[in-house]
Amino acid sequence: MNDKPEKLIDKKGLRLDGRKPEDLRPVKLEVGVIPNADGSAYVEHGKNKILAAVYGPREVHPKHLSLQDRTVLKCRYHMAPFSVQERKSPAPSRREVELSKMIKESLEPAVFLEYYPRTMVDVFVEVLQADGGTRCASITAAALALADSGIPMRDLVVACAAGKVDDTIVLDLMDTEDKLGAADVPVALMPNLNAITLLQMDGILTHEEFESAVNMAMEGCRKIYAIQKEALKTKYVSISEENKEEAEE
């Protein structure tokens, strides 16, 4: 684990885990995994394992935080102590506070906040296992949980990152690539409205590289969106299929 690989991309142009530069890690999404929550989702994105739960809309506590014209969206991103190699203190770190705010801001444009004034929606994101790109996977899962809870939304939100590793632009960086690579560009997208709700860059890229990274990330978002939509529908389709089978019997 401590050995630094010399090259992140081998002679054949394959990455450490055997992916091509434009490949995503395998993504698995599931909806409605927490019965007590109003909406929930679970995502496995490569080795990332993340749970998202949504509660609300409900009354605001403490009351002075309520807004007269819109819903308050609250997000909490948290990494479990066992989610990384070295035990992470369970107290919210600076990074987690920042990511909470970032997730909130990338979800807000998609939710019809003005429909239910004086209420609050809680979004909890718990990272069970982290392997690079948790912010993107968290947004994907949180948006899915919001849709599952029945809160009216303009669109789903999907996120995916692209970056630069060994002078190549690659999609969906994993932990080692993120740490040793040159740059990382996470993008969150509302696919139907074709609007970006989050765009960050960490590292140095030229204009051209940046542009191709953003385009590559958006392409990745659309691929994940198809899985996201499927996951949302599967929850209900499975019920109607059961009935069909019953009827045929």
Binding site: R58, A110, F112, M153, D155, L193
Partner: protein
């Protein structure tokens, strides 16, 4: 200008449903002449108006709705009631007592205490004020017996069925009296516990399978089978 999706198709938020001169109905929104879905649900339309019947949503109060709520707190001159909605409802003491409320004489917890269930009607609600309830009408008031179940509020119309076909069928088959709160809380009162449990099972089945077709027939069949089984057991 086309409607892009067929009737009864499952949509997720952001799905484009139609383009052109249509009216965005329930759980949809329009942007630049296009109609999109705002919730997970099933597409329904009549000539110009496009609706999405949500598969999961929460209850938003409307004036005139009959709801079933739980008293959560006894206040100085009334009660606060949980009506399974983002907003907490208020019930005034003078309304329940049907005479002016005298703080020296009347003991509110004796009339209704925390945890009591009430059938009530929403008398006023808008964006700026919490909903207010009344019980001063026949059929409303404290619930003394029966079973309470919760179902998704958007599925109440499905439980009622076309012109009440579903609910009257269940009432007839089980011999229970059923009060549907539009907030998704349902009160079932029957002669025996078995009857009530049978009605409960039917309602939960409707909730689970509300978006499938031929449901009324399946529920009728289920109730008849269950009844036949019971008859056999008696013999």
């Amino acid at each position: 200008m086309p409607i892009l999706l067929e009737k009864r198709q499952l949509v997720t938020p952001g799905d484009l449903i139609a383009e052109g001169e249509y009216i965005a109905g329930e759980n949809t929104f329009s942007e630049k002449g296009k109609i999109y879905a705002a919730r997970v649900g099933i597409v329904e339309y009549e000539t110009k108006k496009i609706d999405v019947v949500a598969l999961k949503a929460f209850y938003v109060p409307r004036t005139g709705d009959i709801v079933i709520g739980t008293i959560i707190e006894v206040g100085f001159n009334g009660w606060t009631v949980d009506i399974n909605s983002p907003y907490i409802a208020l019930l005034r003491a003078s309304d329940v007592l049907s005479r002016p409320f005298k703080p020296q004489k009347d003991d509110l917890p004796q009339v209704l205490d925390a945890g009591d269930l009430v059938v009530a009607k929403v008398v006023s609600y808008d964006r700026t004020h919490d909903p207010q309830l009344t019980v001063a009408e026949p059929g409303l008031g404290k619930i003394t017996r029966g079973q309470i179940i919760k179902i998704t509020p958007t599925k109440i119309p499905r439980v009622i069925g076309r012109k009440g076909s579903m609910i009257s069928m269940i009432k007839q088959e089980t011999g229970c009296n059923i009060i549907l709160g539009l907030n998704g809380v349902v009160l079932i009162t029957g002669k025996t516990l078995d009857d009530e449990q049978l009605a409960t099972r039917a309602l939960l089945k409707i909730e689970q399978e509300s978006h499938t077709s031929g449901l009324t027939d399946r529920i009728t069949q289920m109730l008849k089978e269950e009844k036949a089984k019971k008859e056999e057991n008696k013999k």
